[in-house]
């Protein structure tokens, strides 16, 4: 192809297709690389504790007790023949809350929660999460951290 003289700005059909195909191919290549890179960095498998776990037999928990399960970062509450499970993870920035006389408090930024997990004061945007508690066939409490329930939903035995 003969080089065109400088300053010739007329667009030929071939030139137009070459340019537009070039831009399309280039954009596609950059976008595909970017998407593939981000997708590569998002893990498909995580090596973390299961969301669904057994929390022992109901008899293990005395009446009126609030028990902290360290590995799962939850409290198991028993009153009479009712069972509930409360997340110990602060809804503010993920610290583990401690029990206090009137409920729970977070040591990191000072959020205070009452016994139902509702926010009393502090920066926490939401109440602590209650998890679904069920009973397995072999008479064990089963907590599903993937399923949130209202604070007044109990497992009644």
């Amino acid at each position: 192809m003969n080089p065109k003289p400088l300053g010739d700005t007329a667009v030929t059909r071939r030139g137009f297709f070459q340019l537009s195909m070039g831009w399309v191919a280039g954009t596609f290549a950059v976008a595909a690389t970017a998407i593939a890179t981000v997708r590569f960095l998002v893990p498909n498998v995580v090596f973390e504790p299961a969301q669904l776990f057994k929390a022992g037999a109901p008899e293990d928990y005395p009446d009126g007790s609030i028990t902290f399960l360290e590995d799962e970062r939850v409290f198991v509450l028993r009153r009479g023949n009712t069972f509930r499970c409360l997340s110990a993870v602060c809804t503010h920035l993920g610290c583990t809350v401690n029990r206090s006389d009137k409920g729970f408090h977070c040591p990191c930024h000072g959020s205070v929660f009452n016994r139902d997990g509702a926010v009393v004061s502090g920066p926490a945007p939401r109440a602590l999460t209650w998890f679904l508690v069920t009973l397995s066939k072999d008479n064990r409490l089963v907590v599903d951290k993937g399923q949130n329930v209202a604070h007044d939903k109990y497992l009644i035995l």
């Binding site: 920035l93 993920g94 610290c95 583990t96």
Partner: protein, 425 residues
């Protein structure tokens, strides 16, 4: 033979000349050649304006940041020979560095203190550039590069924070990544991407390690190169406008050609180095080189001094159940943590985003040409006041978060009760 003579003798030998290309410079021509014929020295101009050499103007803060970056690369590389980014091994390796490895504690001390100093130096450098109006045309883009380097510095510090895998590391990163989760729309996904999962664990440690030892240092190194390149291309360090000389008002082609330095000295804009009154300029060799060397030695000496007398803190092994009370971020994030204790969205997302946006648009909004190259110029009283108020608020929040916050992030009075456990104590 005194060392100076030893050096000039070696530089003038056959071997010395083969290494340095130019022998010990005796004339101004050779002083220029010494600068431009060395890979390391040619980064800098052959001649430099007197104003740029004034320590009272620049305070040397950019160079100090760069030297600390060098120290961090050196000590960081050494630490990599022993460190293992594994949740089961990392903490033991820190203990090994403290008690088993020869000079391990010392190298870690240097790395930690240089990191703190670099954050401080970069912040102060930014303040200096603001107060002297040095971000104004034609230096707007270099201010942007500087903002990028500032964020890279914070990112390096934040990712390095997790690596010891102690209590401080684990909970500072737990809090920090949860803050990212508050970002609108992309927040939860961003948090998952940063951690490589839902909680701070092995995946997060691996990711932070990769970011800390290769990704962010590479970005920082490239940024520094662009930053320094632009300092030269934009006409050297900012300085007040000078009366235009005859030579400068002439077209470039008519400039005198009997200069001892070449076209590489041409810089864009209204402040080219050539054409200036020669009295304003001195040869970089030795005026600039000597000052830089002295400053480098001062910075190294100061880091060594800190590393000898103060040990880098290492708390207990990370306990994923019990956060320390109070759990505190490093000092440069404590102002934000104080804000976060009121509202995670405002303190963790909105205010930082506003600060970064303001820094980015600043040189394009503040287009006045007055007051460049002068500290606290009269013409810039409004800008100076606004910036100073912002800095004062940031300092106040940091002081409150550091000294006046105790267990459960409640108020404490530092001079009545023992202060909360802080870094360096």
């Amino acid at each position: 033979m005194v060392p100076h003579h030893l050096w000039t003798w070696f530089a003038s030998t056959r071997v010395g000349r083969s290494i340095f290309r130019v022998g010990p410079p005796h004339s101004n021509l050779e002083r220029s050649q010494a600068m431009v014929s060395s890979l390391l020295l040619h980064v800098q101009p052959a001649k430099v304006n007197r104003h740029a050499l004034k320590a009272s103007y620049s305070l040397g803060l950019g160079l100090i940041s760069l030297y600390l970056f060098f120290i961090l690369i050196g000590t960081g590389t050494l630490l990599m020979f022993y460190y293992v980014p594994s949740t089961t091994q990392a903490y033991d390796r820190m203990k090994d560095l403290q008690f088993v490895v020869s000079a391990g504690l010392f190298v870690r001390n240097m790395h930690r203190w240089a990191a703190h100093l670099m954050v401080a130096a970069v912040m102060l450098h930014m303040c200096r550039v603001f107060y002297t109006g040095a971000y104004k045309a034609p230096r707007e883009f270099n201010w942007l590069v500087g903002v990028g380097l500032f964020l890279t510095t914070l990112g390096l510090s934040f990712t390095g924070y997790l690596l010891p895998w102690d209590q401080l590391a684990f909970w500072a990163i737990t809090v920090g990544t949860n803050i990212a989760g508050y970002a609108p729309i992309v927040g939860p996904k961003l948090k998952y991407l940063m951690l490589g999962g839902n909680t701070v664990g092995q995946e997060a440690l691996t990711r932070f390690y990769a970011l800390h030892v290769i990704v962010l240092p590479a970005i920082g190194g490239l940024g520094v190169a662009i930053h320094m390149w632009r300092v030269r291309k934009d006409g050297g360090l900012s300085r007040p406008d000078e009366p235009v000389s005859v030579a400068e008002s002439l077209p470039l082609a008519q400039l005198p050609t009997n200069k001892s330095y070449g076209l590489m000295e041409l810089a864009r804009g209204t402040t080219p180095q050539v054409g200036r009154d020669p009295d304003d300029e001195v040869f970089s060799w030795p005026s600039l080189i000597f000052r830089e060397l002295v400053l480098f030695l001062v910075v190294v000496a100061f880091v060594l001094f800190l590393a000898i007398f103060w040990n880098a803190p290492l708390e207990e092994l990370a306990n994923t159940i019990h956060p320390p009370n109070p759990a505190k971020a490093p000092w440069y994030f404590l102002g934000l943590q104080e804000l976060v204790s009121y509202s995670a969205f405002w303190g963790g997302v909105a205010v930082p985003a506003l600060i970064v946006t303001a820094l980015v648009v600043l040189p394009y909004l503040d287009r006045g040409r007055e007051g460049v190259g002068v500290w606290f110029a009269r013409e810039r009283r409004v800008a100076t006041t606004v910036f100073s108020v912002c800095v004062a608020v940031a300092i106040a929040l940091t002081v409150v978060g550091t000294m006046f916050r105790g267990p459960n992030w409640g108020w404490v009075v530092p001079w009545r009760t023992p202060p909360p456990a802080m870094e360096g104590h």
